[in-house]
């Protein structure tokens, strides 16, 4: 039985100002039309959960937002700039403001936890002194409660710890937007709840806006301000957790059962 907190940490109100705007986005892989005319906004300070079945294109959607996949058609505006039109330098600049938590954590096996966290700090071309880098690494690890793991390698960590370290690495540049790809996948329900609570706490602390890809309903309940359902390559059904849970729509019901 998972114990849920009585009161989730309270967020600041969402500001009606889109930080991500997707307009008529299409993406196909051969004959597999994954995204078909998707239009979606993420407002400042909002946690938007994209819910959908496995293979429905959720990961493709957020990879289009970060520029890892180029959409076939449509506009993907992040902080006012259209991602598909950007060159590599512009993409690198925007990526300092957008964090991405990978489903598989994507920690570099050949590096220690410290080196994993230092990597984005050193690679984005922002000048930090050695002391600043060290302070940021320790702060990021303290935020996720794992400051003692700084000199361990990823292979020495449990699944939940890896997820926390990956989250710390995502947050180290203090991004304005965070994209989470199945943040609780592969974790036991208790650790999944801990990670979901941590995501919400950190969103409040750093005032981030987030898109969370998930089909873990516990995570969805804890983290979401708004839910968009990705069905048949489109995001036509949107609402908050309670609203969708109580709707009698046969397309929505299976997710909440």
């Amino acid at each position: 039985m998972i114990t849920e907190p009585d009161i989730y940490p309270q967020k600041e109100p969402v500001i009606d100002e889109p930080v991500i705007r997707l307009m008529n986005v299409y993406k196909s892989f051969g004959n597999n039309h994954v995204l078909k005319d998707i239009s979606l906004d993420l407002n400042k300070g909002e946690n938007l959960v994209v819910l959908g079945k496995s293979g429905s294109g959720k990961s493709v959607l957020i990879k289009c937002i970060i520029g890892l996949i180029k959409p076939d058609k449509g506009i993907v505006k992040v902080l006012g700039k259209n991602i598909p039109d950007m060159n590599q330098n512009e993409l690198d600049t925007i990526r300092t403001k957008v964090g991405f938590l990978f489903q598989s954590n994507a920690l570099y096996d050949s590096m220690t936890v410290r080196e994993n966290l230092e990597f984005p700090l050193r690679r984005h071309g922002i000048k930090f002194s050695k002391e600043e880098v060290n302070a940021k690494v320790i702060e990021a690890l303290t935020n996720v409660g794992l400051s003692h793991t700084v000199d361990l390698s990823p292979s020495e960590l449990s699944g939940g710890m890896k997820k926390r370290i990956a989250l710390a690495r995502t947050l180290i540049l203090e991004p304005e937007i965070i994209l989470y790809d199945e943040p609780t996948a592969g974790l036991d329900p208790i650790t999944g709840t801990e990670i979901s609570n941590l995501m919400r706490e950190l969103a409040i602390k750093y005032k981030t806006s987030s898109i969370i890809i998930s089909h873990d309903m516990n995570c969805v309940k804890i983290t979401s301000d708004r839910i968009a359902l990705l069905l048949d390559g489109q995001c036509n059904i949107q609402g908050n957790y309670e609203g969708l849970k109580n709707s009698g729509d046969v397309k929505i019901k299976p997710f909440f059962e």
């Binding site: 990879k63 970060i66 890892l68 590599q88 690198d92 990526r95 300092t96 991405f100 990978f102 489903q103 598989s104 954590n105 994507a106 920690l107 570099y108 096996d109 050949s110 990597f119 984005p120 690679r123 984005h124 071309g125």
Partner: protein, 255 residues
């Protein structure tokens, strides 16, 4: 069936060619990843030294022991250091060392990059403001291209030492006499082409390992396949490049 095989072969050849062109484009453009290149040189070069030394020593010893009876038959036993040094330096050591490196380094690169690909580490690198092709591929290919010739020079020396010991198992040849015969026999025409071709071997091993790993798919099964095909294709390429370079050396009358 044959058409499908031919199509696959041609499409893979095209992909490898494009990958090679991209390597040359990226290699000369800043930002240069010197620290990662040094790290790769350490892993590819220094970490292969023990294996190369042991195999080179055994090669030298065995070739000498095997060659002796034939030379004895013709009463040409005193030619042993000459014959062994030419065959080791010109052909056996470069090719065998390259094949050992194709097995150790090629499979290592294929498996490492393959697992990085399937666990999204390459995507994570790109998101962290790093060009993964430059950071992972260019550095590894340059490192193999530079390190394999160095390993071959080391292996040449060790194998000749093995040859010296092999000569002395059933005969008596002094240290000075052995090395005098070796250096009197070997000319620049023997040494330079044999080392020059090892740059090509190193490039091929790095290129195929990286290509297979970087384009790995289908999860962990794909990682195994990448490592395996990296070894098979790069070993085959070592023989093909050896054949071509021997023909060129012959045409240029460097023999």
């Amino acid at each position: 069936m044959n058409n499908k095989l031919l199509n696959n072969f041609l499409s893979e050849t095209g992909d490898i060619s494009r990958f090679t062109v991209r390597f040359f484009k990226e290699a000369f453009k800043p930002r240069y990843e010197f620290s990662e290149l040094m790290r790769q040189c350490y892993y590819i070069g220094y970490k292969s030294v023990p294996l190369v030394i042991i195999t080179a020593f055994i090669m030298g010893l065995v070739i000498t022991i095997q060659s002796r009876p034939t030379l004895v038959e013709f009463g040409a036993e005193s030619w042993l250091p000459k014959m062994v040094s030419v065959s080791l330096v010109r052909e056996i050591v470069p090719v065998i060392t390259a094949l050992i490196c194709a097995g150790k380094i090629g499979s290592g690169i294929g498996a490492e990059l393959g697992s990085m690909k399937v666990t999204e580490q390459i995507d994570a690198m790109e998101v962290s403001g790093t060009n993964p092709f430059k950071y992972l591929i260019v550095t590894r290919i340059i490192a193999t291209t530079l390190m394999i010739p160095i390993l071959v020079v080391l292996a040449d020396t060790i194998s000749l030492y093995g040859g010296y010991l092999g000569t002395n198992i059933r005969g008596v040849v002094s240290w000075d006499l052995f090395w005098n015969q070796v250096f009197n026999t070997l000319s620049f025409g023997d040494v330079i082409p044999s080392i020059a071709k090892t740059f090509l071997f190193g490039f091929a091993i790095g290129l195929i390992g990286c290509y297979k790993g970087y384009n790995s798919n289908k999860g962990t099964e794909g990682v195994g396949r990448s490592a395996n095909s990296a070894v098979v294709i790069s070993s085959l390429l070592v023989f093909i490049l050896d054949l071509v370079s021997v023909q060129i050396t012959d045409l240029l009358k460097l023999t």
